[in-house]
Symmetry: C2
Subunit: 348 residues, 2 copies
DNA sequence: AGAAAACGAGAAAGCGCTTTCTCAACCGTT
DNA sequence: AACGGTTGAGAAAGCGCTTTCTCGTTTTCT
């Protein structure tokens, strides 16, 4: 083995030698093991400080069989939603002494499984955000990733803890809000087809339709970006709807921008709603009515589920007392601002 | 040592046993060492696949003395700038087979040094974003963090590679743009005092003043958020300036929002510029004139500097051939949009 | 006071790999 | 046919810790 020259980092044996004790004792002291003579402990600690000794994490990791690190797999680090999840996990995990390793698949979903597995091997667990992964692939991947926590997905056969946002309820709240204002013709400017959360919104709308047969709800296929929203204006106007629910705040803002250019007044002529309540939503003109999604909290909760998993007894498939399969749901909350009002026909 | 029951992960020795070779040979095959009989290599590979063997990273890390991980220290994961740096580093590093570990100090700058050191111990190197850290502290910390790459900071005594954005030039470009439009009274709505990049802007303005003594430039102390921008409107109007340079796009948008409420037309009565060219800048009303900062590229470049450091010969303080102390500068580029025009007095 | 229990610290065995070191088998020379 | 020179793979020594095992001491109980 190569022998690094002088600058070799100070190791546990250096401390042991200088303090006149064995490696074991130094280790015990560093780990707060109580069964060490307080006097010796103090001496060891002093020596450690003097020598600026810092235990090598890799050595510890190998010996303890854990890394105090959790992986977060996201499909796109540029997406504000995942950035917020990441932040939530990172901050919550930090409070428990864990660090976060990033695995960004850059939307190459074919790499997602591999990336997740690799992250799992390096970490004690993974938080998986994989909205586009097929259910079958997810189901197959899940067992090998244990412990794992899902964000905005659930597994069926395998039961993994999940943290999900009830997009269905959120969109229903928005639709109900528009209905109460007097709108009878609504349109949903949809998100990407493969998006799971778009599916949940559609399901929510289906439920709403059943409960309120008198309300018309059109679905206009579209995307998820500001640009997509901007480009949806023509279809929106063609639809004849007066209450428009955009996939998210970004597309709502794009739509708003185009409508503004066309001289169409919001909310006088058309009501528009967003989804997510991103920081900018309150500053658009008019300010956006939307459904607030506490996405950072989703990340925090994901960590807590992970922590429970990590602390739970070894036997992972045992009985009913394990925290397995717990699903924590966050409901978006309606935020009414200036972009919605009674429809023109009834208002005036 | 505790003996994990049945589900013990398949290790290198399992492969060796099943393939009828020694551990060493399996290791050699897995690492592409050529000095292995092709026939044996094939057999080993087949066994590895059959057994679904995946080398344990921790073991490798310890044996090789490296972790294939780089730490990114940021003061606030909620800040779009650092999110982008993080993304840049993460994607670029991934291409070289490295992963990123996050260290978010959550703006608790007293913890920054400790956090950075800890990240360094877990990783092969650190990319440090610490705009508020005092030069003295940075200088003291630098040696112990080697290899380290700085973002938007430089060290003096210690020479660490840096990737910086020339904020001074950017603000001068904006000032020059306003001057060319005919503005003679400018105001800079400053960022946080402790912010290094705010200091660079101020220095840039000082240079500009020297070169253009006829132009008045007031400095209005302020902050860095949308809210801060919104609240700066009164001071801005008091100043009597006609060309307003905001600290960044966020504050510019806040200012714009307030001015809009007051019925003050932009750019007819007042010209406003931002800084950063965040995605929303083009969608404000009017669209924001700003200085584009290629911040993701900054992150990518930071990784490249890090890679050079990691690949450079051991002796880190040796001669002139090392990539030490290389500073890569990115210049913001002026993006003229609708929020700037000739001042009212001259325009009409 | 003698034996049992409790304690505290050192020795040593790993954790799962990589990489020397070592040596047998094989090659081509004169 | 004997010999230095290659190859190629196994044996073994770590990498820097943690944790059991072990055993000499001290305390406690009857």
């Amino acid at each position: 083995m190569a022998k690094r020259a002088q600058t070799t980092r100070v190791g546990i044996s250096d401390v042991a030698a200088k303090a006149g004790v064995s490696l074991a004792t130094v280790s015990r002291v560093m780990n707060g093991n109580l069964s060490v003579d307080p006097q010796i402990a103090t001496r060891v600690r002093a020596t450690a400080t003097e020598l600026k000794y810092q235990p090598n994490p890799t050595g510890r990791n190998l010996a303890r069989g854990k890394t105090d690190t959790v992986g977060v797999v996201v499909p796109d680090l540029g997406n504000p939603t995942f950035q917020s999840v990441l932040r939530g996990v990172s901050r919550a995990a930090a409070l428990d002494g864990y660090r976060v390793l990033i695995a960004d698949s850059s939307e190459v979903s074919s790499e997602e499984s591999i990336l997740a597995s690799e992250a799992r091997r390096r970490c004690d667990g993974v938080v998986l955000c994989a909205p586009r992964m097929s259910p079958a692939e997810l189901e197959e991947l899940a067992p090998s990733l244990y412990p794992m926590v899902l964000v905005n997905r659930t597994t069926d056969a395998t039961s993994s803890p999940s943290v999900i946002v009830d997009y269905g309820k959120g969109i229903q709240d928005l639709a109900a809000h528009l209905m109460e204002l007097g709108h009878t013709r609504l349109a949903y400017v949809a998100g990407p087809e493969s998006s799971a959360s778009n599916g949940l919104r559609l399901a929510g709308l289906a439920t709403f339709r059943e409960a309120n047969p008198s309300i018309e709800i059109q679905v206009l296929p579209n995307g998820s970006t500001f640009e997509d929203g901007y480009n949806s204006a023509a279809a929106v106007l063609d639809s004849g709807a007066t209450g428009i629910m955009a996939f998210n705040d970004l597309t709502a803002m794009g739509l708003l921008s185009n409508l503004n250019e066309r001289g169409i007044r919001v909310p006088a002529e058309l009501s528009v709603t967003g989804f997510d309540d991103i920081p900018f939503a309150r500053y658009t003109t008019p300010a956006l009515t939307t459904a607030d999604v506490p996405i950072v909290e989703v990340g925090e909760q994901a960590w807590r589920q992970m922590r429970d998993l990590l602390n739970s007894p070894e036997g992972n498939d045992a009985g009913a007392s394990t925290p397995e399969g717990v699903t924590r749901t966050f409901s978006p909350s309606l935020v009414v601002r200036g972009s919605t009002a009674a429809p023109a026909s009834k208002a005036q």
